[in-house]
Amino acid sequence: MLEFMVKQFIPELIAVETKAKHILHKYNYLWLHANMQQIDVEERLWLPVLCLASAKTVKGINQESVQVASHLHLFNIATQLHLNLPKMNQKKLQQEIKNPILLGDLLYSSIFHDISQGENPSYLQDFAGLLESIHERVILRDYPFKDDFWPIHNDINMCGEMSEVACFLGARTGACAGEMMKGLKDLGYLLGVLKEVWNTNITYTSYLNCWYQAWNKIELLSGEYDFSLYENLLIMMGKKWHLKKPVMLKEVRA
């Protein structure tokens, strides 16, 4: 699904991976990189790509966008390490769970440390908030109420929140503010929800409104900005669900 977007950002994504590698190298934990490669490419690149796409849409990608994208990249990997812990809790599995816990912790701490050393420590707040809310979602997913809908709902929301932050931060690196920034943040959330629905093969109809809301956002925000990347992403998702791109007002006028 992400292939065509990745193609748009190949040089930037190489820079993102290199920066992530540098962060690990700085702390002498390059061996972690091998573990990272085991995580599915699409899963690994989703947040950096969203961040870069968001920055590109509002102003253009700069050094800060690449920096934030590489932090998101590492954040995503740390989260995956903690999420994919072996389910069982027996003693024989203790060794298996030690490494991902420690690696995840190390990655999170490396990200926070790197942000605090950088020129814009305000990102610390965003990443700390994301860390708290994502893991709260996981707890609510794994320890649901009686309502069966909760676990899936929390998984989907989790992806929504991470994508929301990726788009928001990408827009911020492009010195974007106000309605546009809020709009991109909302769009990020919707794309995250749709991506999770797309990945998990659950019935999309409950989330159909998200697909249409995303198009509405694009229509509202586009104007002078080029949203073709997001449009193509939505079209690609829609194909799986046999949904056609809704008619946009500007197209009717044209």
Binding site: K87, L106, L131, I139
Partner: protein
Amino acid sequence: MQINNLVSEIDNDIKKLDKYLYLSMSNNHIYLQNSLRYLLKAGGKRLRPILTLFSASYGKERKEGIISLAAAFELMHMASLVHDDIIDNSELRRGKPTLNKIYGSHYSLHFGDCLLGKALSIVYQYDNLRLNKLVTKVSLEMCKGEIEQLSAAFDYAQDVKKYFYLIKRKTAMMISLSCQGGALAGGADEKIVKVLGRYGHYLGMAFQITDDVLDYVADEKILGKPVGSDLQQGIITLPLIYILKYNSRKDKLQQILSKNKLDEEDIEQILQLIKETAAIPFSLNIANKYIDKSLNELNLLPDNQTTQTLRQIALFIKHRTF
């Protein structure tokens, strides 16, 4: 003696701190609020936030403004304990079942992550670049220390230098941060910030060495966990290093340790060996030297009631039995 007896002058602040801690997750789901309450009720000395509050009083800020920072340090400390309990598969802490024991590894892991996120969010609100750098550096070094400790488990060749490297990251850096962070946020002079940082470091080193000694000699009921639990996990601490490096009975110890798995009888033999040799006095002597160093640092601070209390806290660490 309890540490609370020493710090009665900040009773009100400690009450406010506890209230802040209890409410710090009030916006989160009830599951998380209950888990935090459980951890807070399990006790703990609140040594780190207490040091933060005292350190802040060397500055111009009122202590009230520092309460959230003190709470953030306690949350950060709790996050590290929660994750440590999963990694060590500990069933008891402070005499009560660990979160890991009650809810399992998954829950505890994610709860620990939530605590760290909450703590960092609070720290960021102080809008202090140096504080941010300091906190994130300590968090990173603590993780490095934990990884190093795991890779050094059951490595009976490790020396005192390696042990000091590990306990610095395990305990001393966080205690030093609590002191420095309080002074920084309180607006204290640079010289005082540095002195308090060193005081915290020496205190932390002594604290951990004493902790490691207590793991061998304390009353299990008072300790709140099984005696010799470090040994069972392969964590090599100072009393053991002493025998392996400097004592004539090292052959006997090496013979026991050469087994693939230590049973209860082996542990009992090692505990006996530690009691019979000078391992404990040797370790406590080093802890006392660190306490002396921390007391020397205090001589560089203004001679007031706060400095006097910090002195008593150092002496409390020296004589603590749990």
